[in-house]
């Protein structure tokens, strides 16, 4: 009490002056009949100050608890965000396989074969003499335009691949010669499987401009 000598104490008679009034304090006339906390609530003595009660936890101070709480909340939020991101990447994809067998070499006539374009996105080309390998055989062209990724069409009358999006043109070898495409079509790995069928693997790509068409797996000699 020492710090607030004038604070009234409930129930205790005042030390001087007139005798103690009834417990109900006087109500100012303008507030008569109204419910206001100011008018009605008796003033309580200030709580006796014990030594900072909140901070005497044997484990952690109040501040540390708060830090811990915010820290774990932040960590949980970050975890939830990461989980949300991971959610967008499924473990299994319903997409055509990257590696597939396309039958035996003698099933193909010379020229561009379109039978696997829709299903696997490749043209199988049989050529008597390749521009890089200088031998007869097969290569698999990936049917994705090297400009911005549309699927070109094979125009058998004009002997070229023509992209409908911005007009890029490619020779049967895959080399670009018109339109905005900056580089030739890519070739996929093509080898003979154990059973004698041709095996194409789109996961392995060969780019002409990097000299990769000389790779033995980019071309199947027969």
């Amino acid at each position: 009490m020492a710090d607030e000598p004038n604070a009234p104490v409930e129930g205790a008679p005042a030390s001087k002056g007139p005798p103690a009034k009834p417990a109900q304090p006087a109500v100012p006339p303008n507030l008569a009949g109204k419910t206001t906390s100011a008018a009605v609530a008796p003033r309580r003595p200030p709580a006796r100050k014990k030594k900072v009660v909140d901070d005497t936890s044997p484990l952690l101070s109040r501040r540390s608890w708060l830090g811990l709480a915010w820290g774990s909340f932040t960590a949980a939020s970050a975890g939830a965000l990461a989980a949300t991101g991971r959610f967008m990447f499924p473990n299994v994809l319903n997409e055509p396989p990257q590696q597939f067998k396309i039958g035996f070499p003698d099933e193909y006539a010379p020229g561009v074969d379109e039978r696997w374009k829709d299903r696997f996105g490749i043209w199988v080309v049989r050529t008597p003499s390749d521009i890089v390998q200088e031998a007869g055989g097969f290569y698999a062209l990936i049917s994705v335009c090297t400009h911005l990724g549309c699927t070109p069409n094979w125009l058998s009358a004009e002997l070229k691949f023509k992209c409908p999006c911005h007009g890029s043109g490619f020779r049967p070898t895959g080399v670009n010669f018109e339109g905005p495409a900056p580089r030739p079509l890519e070739r996929a790995r093509i080898v003979l499987a154990d059973d004698g069928q041709i095996l194409v693997d789109k996961a392995r790509k060969f780019q002409f401009e990097l000299g990769q068409w000389a790779d033995p797996e980019s071309f199947l000699r027969v």
Binding site: G85, M88, F89, P90, L93, N94, E95, L148, G149, C150, T151, P164, C165
Partner: protein
């Protein structure tokens, strides 16, 4: 003194029922203030209505001058509302699957009464892109991006991007050749995202041993398409983004945008 309402003896039936109606609890709970014919009542009416209070009670004269504002912000908002409405209507018929998407779009024109609803959505979307650009242009030319409005300008830039993304995602949904290849071309750009795109700068640096961490099946473009090409996953993801994700985001930003306009002193005046 509750019963001192003076009722003229010669009241007609119409007047009597009107008086009765306006005294009912229902009426009084809906129309809480008298008719807005005085300044005071206008303010009371406007401020106690959630929709009306969105609009300020007072405006600068320049704020309603068409030659100054072009009304492009308002038109953009109006178009957004009408796109939301027609879009929800389209959702009653459209199924975002490879099997049905295209035929449902054709069906919307051929089999559904008022097939014009889809055209309204489509043309409204084009119009919104135009009005948003013009709004930005007006705001730029009148210098309204300057402090204290620079924060709101940035909100606007984000909303411009969201508008374009809404347009982009909606473009795929008809699932015709134009749509598929436009999204193919557009989403291929995401391959070039720094670090997060399989062909982007820096992504080759992210290696674990000699395995690339960022490749075609886990890069930014994949997250967008839900696959390595524009297929079933892309259609569904774009549908969800178009109908739920992006509209929610832009609606929240609109609320912030309109609120800031008022906090920053209303529509900017001529300098």
């Amino acid at each position: 003194m509750a019963d001192t309402k003076i009722v003229a003896p010669k009241e007609g039936a119409l007047e009597r029922s009107w008086n009765w109606l306006t005294e009912t609890q229902v009426w009084k709970s809906v129309f809480r203030h008298n008719a807005p014919i005085t300044d005071r009542n206008r303010v009371l009416v406007v401020l106690s209505n959630v929709f009306l209070h969105l609009h300020p009670v007072r405006l600068r004269k320049s704020g309603v001058r068409l030659r100054y504002t072009w009304c492009m912000g308002g038109l953009s908002f109006f178009l957004f509302l009408s796109l939301t409405f027609t879009g929800v209507l389209l959702m009653f018929y459209y199924r975002p699957t490879l099997e049905y998407a295209y035929t449902d779009i054709v069906g919307l024109r051929e089999h559904v009464p008022l097939g014009i609803m889809r055209e309204m959505h489509r043309w409204g979307a084009h119009a919104m892109v135009v009005t948003v650009w013009l709004h930005m242009f007006r705001v730029f030319m009148t210098g309204s991006y300057k402090p204290p409005r620079e924060f709101n300008w940035n909100i606007g830039v984000i909303m411009l991007v969201l508008t374009l993304l809404l347009s982009f995602t909606g473009y795929l949904l008809p699932w015709d050749q134009l749509a598929i290849w436009a999204i193919t071309v557009g989403s291929n750009m995401a391959r070039a995202t720094p670090f997060m795109g399989s062909e982007g700068p820096g992504s080759a640096l992210l290696m674990l041993g000699d395995v690339r961490l960022i490749h075609a099946a886990d890069d930014a473009r994949f997250a967008l398409l839900g696959g390595t090409f524009v297929g079933e996953g892309a259609l569904l993801r774009f549908y969800v983004l178009h109908c739920v994700g992006l509209p929610l985001a832009i609606a929240v930003l609109m609320a912030v945008h309109f609120w800031r306009v008022r906090k920053d002193g209303g529509i900017s005046g001529p300098v």
